[in-house]
Symmetry: C2
Amino acid sequence: MLELYHAGLTACSKKVRLCLREKGLDYVSHYVELGKFDQHDPDYLKLNPNGLVPTLVHDDVAIIESTVINEYLDDVFPNVPLRPADPVERARARLWGKLADESLGPNMVVAFSGPSNIGMAARGLAAGDIDGVLDRIPLIERRNVIAKISRGGGFTDDDFAAAREKAGFIVRRAEQALEAGPYLAGSTYSLADINMIPFMDRYRERVVPDLFTVSQHPRLCDWCDRILARPAAIATWAESEETRAPAA
Amino acid sequence: MLELYHAGLTACSKKVRLCLREKGLDYVSHYVELGKFDQHDPDYLKLNPNGLVPTLVHDDVAIIESTVINEYLDDVFPNVPLRPADPVERARARLWGKLADESLGPNMVVAFSGPSNIGMAARGLAAGDIDGVLDRIPLIERRNVIAKISRGGGFTDDDFAAAREKAGFIVRRAEQALEAGPYLAGSTYSLADINMIPFMDRYRERVVPDLFTVSQHPRLCDWCDRILARPAAIATWAESEETRAPAA
């Protein structure tokens, strides 16, 4: 049996929800309310000591980190393979997963922190409550970010400028990669596309829409449209019971 | 034919050199002089657009990023497998690879920046030369770090304190993981150990030796000793023709 603890339409949760749908795997959905910091609940930390979503539980064993979860799913359920058979394309697919984890995700937190749910939730708390929230965050990188958003006055203009520059660099790289084939790893739809699309979609819609135009980056815009038109992506992106907190 | 562009005894180069030796694979060694910024040379950037070492060239195709290179080697040369057969242990192995890439490496740059080769080389340059060096660095994260070391007065006390705290967190995690088995992924020696040992060894020897004692972390210290005693590790760590620039 598969269970997924996730936060619906957030980027890393979409990565795994899309992978599960592409593979046609059923799972029990558990919505984790980030606005209430349920991801730092002691019971949840037993599953995911990093205090992050998503977490996959497969036959009572917890697997964490969305990129690792997706490779695990492809190892255990090899039907509908989502890694290229060619080892060079497979290495390329892993590079995109790394880029999403190391650059796109952290960069989005900066470029996008103002209107983010975490920022809003943290700002809605009294100062004493914020201390309590911060104390329960296991990863120091994450704790520092939340502290900066909730009390430090947020990020500086330099931070935003660097985040924009980085976004532009990644967008150009992706455009360039798509000269070699219809998908990020080359000829095959793969975890590269699945791990990148939730971030790229958000960069296009809300983070850096001006850097993400058809005239500047035609292949990348076309790639976004093609990936988002897949039935599994349409189902993953749709609002549903699964993408919101259950009524109390 | 396998060729490796690397910087000898630096951490990410040791990761791949150790993996190649564990697998018994011969390769042509190309030493890249970081002190001369050869990694930003236009010809090298054709192989590795990120301007980092190492780069593996296999039958004229370049594979970059040490963690991705090691998975590629295990895909293409499955003799002496270095990923656990059990998918849960395999996922755990990948988590350690991610931790090394995302936390241990960048953290070491901060905690260790004073005496690093890059810092020394950058400080030995005139201001005009530093601009030239910075302009040629493709990755903005890396460019910002070198700028900070070479002109910004380096990292602050807060940066060092955060780096120490993070190092302590990772060291405790590793100690805890080794309660479950002799290796980081569990029962099997794997890429988890190979990707972590160059960093852990340096943390113990030079970065945070006071956090890395036998009385505090007996399992981790024993693990370091066991991994470093393997013939492949002894050969990888030894100074040799391969680990220094050829005489001009």
